[in-house]
């Protein structure tokens, strides 16, 4: 019996070995077989890239049937003649079914081929695309939603500006930091020390700098009335020119043109930390009683605010740079956070244009809040009920605010 069981086990083992050997032989045979030819992509279409200034053609194709197995990407070939020589203009990764050729001339007609390439560098060329020519469009319909929403907000801005120009009062809530401005200037006057105004380190192409310069105008007007000394070091030449004009106008409108001096505003350097070194030096030597930091700031924010704090100055900051706000909040007495900076500019100037702009932007905020609340409600109902109606409405909300690259 024992001998029989041993024989049975031996037979089973032998059988297993034989089976394994047969499998491996079959595998070897399979790997040695000639691979099937690579199938090319199909239905290649080339057409003008819509909504641009010309100079671009979109090429689309249906993926090769071998996409999932072997394809490593697609090479895009281009020629100005269907029978001419085709040259490579780019490469699309595996899975991609479109390519934007952004280097075309609008006066020429182009033909495209898409070549599937596999791991072994085998290539398979598609049929020729129909002819395509790039052209410029006057209007980008992909941004139609942007036009509608932007138009609504701009319309509201124009309406409120007209409203303010008629002399009707527009309500704006109090902004805490602003009430401290007059107090800070008064303190500097009492102490007989200068006021330092830093309009940020970016140029006039930044809206924060523009807001900073507007606030400087209001601050300079009060300073002119109090006959306090003002010091405005700038890190950009255009900011210096604009700040000079603004301060000069403020002194003239305060009836103190005689007290104005070009030395109030001066250029230091464009270099960020060179500017900081100079401002710190001014702070410890002139010991201003009040420091304003209003504009766009980067890493220098904490260095300047800490130095101002160490000399015991009242500090009022305002910026829309999210990464720098924490430092101003920590080291300054008052901080205008983000959009408060722009609101402050309007609030202080009292100009119909600025007040109307701010009110118009508030309309934009109502639109944003409503869209988020309605959209979130639709998404939530869809997630709970699975209703296709709510799903479609939620998708519509997404589309309303989506930006399509084209």
């Amino acid at each position: 019996m024992k001998a029989f069981s041993h024989s049975l086990i031996s037979c089973c083992l032998l059988g297993s070995i034989l089976l394994a050997t047969t499998d491996s032989i079959a595998q070897v045979e399979c790997s040695d077989s000639v691979p099937s030819p690579l199938l090319p992509p199909s239905e290649v279409i080339a057409e003008d890239h819509p909504g641009d200034a010309g100079g671009a053609i979109i090429v689309r194709w249906k993926l090769s049937p071998d996409e999932a197995k072997r394809i490593t990407g697609y090479e895009i070939l281009r020629s100005t003649s269907p029978t001419g020589e085709f040259s490579s203009v780019g490469f699309a990764a595996t899975g991609a079914n479109r390519y934007v050729d952004a280097n075309t001339e609008d006066s020429l007609t182009y033909y495209y081929k898409v070549v599937a390439v596999d791991v072994n560098k085998n290539a398979s060329e598609s049929e020729l695309s129909p002819p395509a020519r790039s052209s410029a469009q006057w209007f980008n319909f992909h941004l139609l939603n942007l036009l509608i929403i932007g138009g609504l907000i701009c319309g509201a801005v124009i309406y409120f500006i007209a409203h303010a120009k008629k002399g009707k009062k527009l309500f704006l809530r109090r902004i805490a930091g602003l009430e401290a401005v007059d107090e800070a200037i008064g303190r500097a006057t009492e102490m007989g020390r200068p006021i330092l105004f830093i309009p940020g380190i970016l140029d006039m192409d930044d809206v924060q700098t523009i807001a900073g310069i507007t606030i400087l105008g209001r601050v300079a007007k009060t300073i002119a009335q109090y006959e306090t000394k003002l010091n405005v070091p700038t890190s950009r030449s255009i900011v210096m020119s604009t700040a000079m004009e603004t301060v000069k106008e403020a002194y003239i409108s305060a009836g103190r043109a005689d007290a104005y001096s070009d030395d109030f505003v001066h250029y230091v350097t464009d270099e960020q930390f060179g500017y900081v070194a100079a401002v710190d030096g001014i702070m410890v030597r002139e010991r201003p009683a009040t420091c304003f930091y209003i504009g766009a700031f980067f890493a220098e924010s904490l260095i300047m605010a800490e130095t101002g704090n160490s000399i015991g100055a009242i500090q009022i900051a305002g910026t829309a740079m999210p990464a720098q706000l924490p430092f101003f909040v920590a080291a300054c007495d008052y901080t205008l956070i983000g959009e408060e900076l722009f609101a402050a500019s309007a609030y202080l100037s009292g100009e119909p244009k600025q007040l109307g702009s701010l009110k118009g932007q508030d309309v934009g905020k109502i639109i944003a809040m409503s869209a988020i609340v309605i959209g979130a409600a639709l998404e939530t109902i869809f997630a709970i009920s699975g209703s296709s109606l709510f799903g479609s409405l939620a998708e519509l909300m997404h589309k309303l605010f989506s930006i399509v690259a084209g």
């Binding site: 230091v268 070194a277 100079a278 030096g281 508030d362 869209a371 979130a376 939530t380």
Partner: protein, 223 residues
Amino acid sequence: MDSVFSNTLAAILTIGIISFLYKDNPLYKFCESLFIGVSAGYWFVQQYYANLLPKLFDNLGITRLLGAENVADGALQNLFVRGQWDENLLYLIAGILGVMMLLRLVPQIGWMSRWPMAFIVGSIAGLYFITYFQSNAMRQMQNTILPLNSFNNLVLIVGTVTGIIYFYFSKEHKGAFGGAARVGIYFLMVTFGASFGYTVMSRMSLLIGRLDFLFGTWLGLVK
């Protein structure tokens, strides 16, 4: 030998700037003046080679006109020699605006310098409207339209909406509206706290970098 000299000079300047932490002193004043002077000069040269030369003088063909041989013909050569319109001629407008900017140095016609400033501010404001509106408003709104089926989504939606309420200026922060605005400012402060900690960490790494230079590269005490 060169590196020893340059490292020693860099170390002295580093120590000079750091000495401000103690108090204002002559070494700091020297380093400050040197830094400002060198950086102002460097920026002038950099602006010339990055903007004035390639964008204005080369594109218009002024460098070619002055005899430079390694530069292609510019817009002026295309217009007057070949009789072809070259869109680079538009840089002439930028050049004129630049000259107008300098007219502020002539008191009698200094008012003309306001025109290029108005051009810069106006055109940039219009140009940035689209990009800011896309990135700061549209995309953010789209990404906040989420189902309230997780804590993360709830925090995101409540934080965004109450944050917007805080920055709504047409209504006094009173009652329920004031309460929502208060929640918004709490969200902002939590964000600022996290950002503060993160940035302090990166500043510490900058300090470590300078100390590594002083004690490692310069003195060789840290290997």
